[in-house]
Symmetry: C2
Subunit: 231 residues, 2 copies
């Protein structure tokens, strides 16, 4: 059984990393149930064997793979007889753009809406590290950054989410008729928020909210039954 190092909060079963969620959904898509190992930001030594300092880290027999995009490609190639994560070579190429959009547009925007809620759910030993690194990266205190989120969410919904909404108005998944890694890449950001925050990222009736609901139901409600807040 493959082992996945998975970011956890103060409660061991509150798993909130968007990148780990991409991989947990991808593993389920391939019909693989990993052993997940709860990991905290400051547990750098526990994953030193991977040659880098971040999760997800997948250990599959002799193979150690880090970085969510590399893990997804590893799973697609290693389990090529299982349902495809990308739906063909063109899907693999295009999924990288969609994952890059999640990395550079979606997740940075979500971070500024919920970062104080992440901090509130961290294990005690992670708090100082998280506050110091995130306040430096975001240029302000976590509380200040989230203070005007009721205003900022308007632009998030109307502008940042526009290409996602345009697509999901026309088709049920980013992968088309069924979900692919493109969906998991984007869903990771929403599941990150759901795990730690009561803040409503989406308005009722938004086609993106309907898609998120479908994603929560996939693979035996893998994401829907995980600890988080009603969204």
């Amino acid at each position: 059984m493959p082992k996945l190092y998975d970011l956890a909060g103060a409660e061991e079963d509150r798993r909130f990393s968007p990148y780990c969620w991409r991989i947990k959904m991808a593993l389920a898509h391939k019909g693989i149930e990993p052993e997940t190992v709860p990991w905290r930001f400051t547990d750098k030594e526990a994953i030193e064997f991977s040659g880098q300092t971040r999760v997800p880290v997948l250990v599959d027999g002799e193979n150690v793979v880090s970085d969510s995009w590399r893990i997804a490609n590893y799973l697609e190639d290693r389990f090529s007889d299982r349902p495809s994560l990308f739906g063909g070579p063109g899907g693999r190429g295009a999924a990288r753009f969609i994952a890059s959009w999640a990395d550079t547009v979606l997740q940075p925007a979500i971070a500024r809406l919920i970062v104080a809620d992440i901090h509130a759910h961290l294990h005690e030993r992670d708090r100082k590290y998280f506050r110091a690194t995130r306040e430096k990266a975001l240029g302000g205190s976590l509380e200040e950054i989230c203070a005007d989120r009721d205003d900022r969410v308007v632009k998030f919904r109307e502008t940042d989410l526009r290409p996602l909404r345009a697509t999901l108005t026309e088709q049920p998944y980013l992968g088309g008729e069924s979900p692919t890694y493109a969906d998991y890449s984007v869903f990771g950001g929403f599941q990150w928020a759901r795990a730690v925050s009561v803040f409503r990222l989406l308005a009722d009736g938004d086609p993106i909210a309907e898609w998120r609901h479908r994603m929560l139901e996939l693979h035996g409600r893998l994401a829907g039954k995980a600890p988080g807040y009603a969204v």
Copy 2:
């Protein structure tokens, strides 16, 4: 031979519509050389048979298809024995997101950088219509909108193009190892600018500029040999 109604400027061979470029590249990908019919914004009657008022319009025997996304899907299904435009079902789904990103992020940003140059290249009979509709949509005179483009292009390059650059730093095409309709969707916006403007959208050495160069060379330099400015 299919017929494609294609937006033209004052000079009949200056073809600048980003949506028509998507389809000209898609047709070339399928090995089809259409008869292109030059069309201007005010020639609404010429395409009345299509039941709507915009180009591209493809006429293939008895079939009349409008809207670039619908045309691309028509071509993929009608010429399924030719090289795939999407590279599989997952690629078709994901290409819709990438086309939506081009529609809602890339092209609106490019429009605000070059709209006065488009106007300068229009046929006399289109100018009044174009100025009235675009100034209403963009909320200012065409000249005012482009006046601070040297400043705005910095944000365009650094922020708007970020997911595109992240992808093309890692792989040669949005489709992966070879171009798909995802590439044509995004390239349309750059070719639109190239047809009418000397303004430099991209800095030297940008991986996006290198990709654009590859795109200009594809299919016998279809886009590269078309009237436009050095970029």
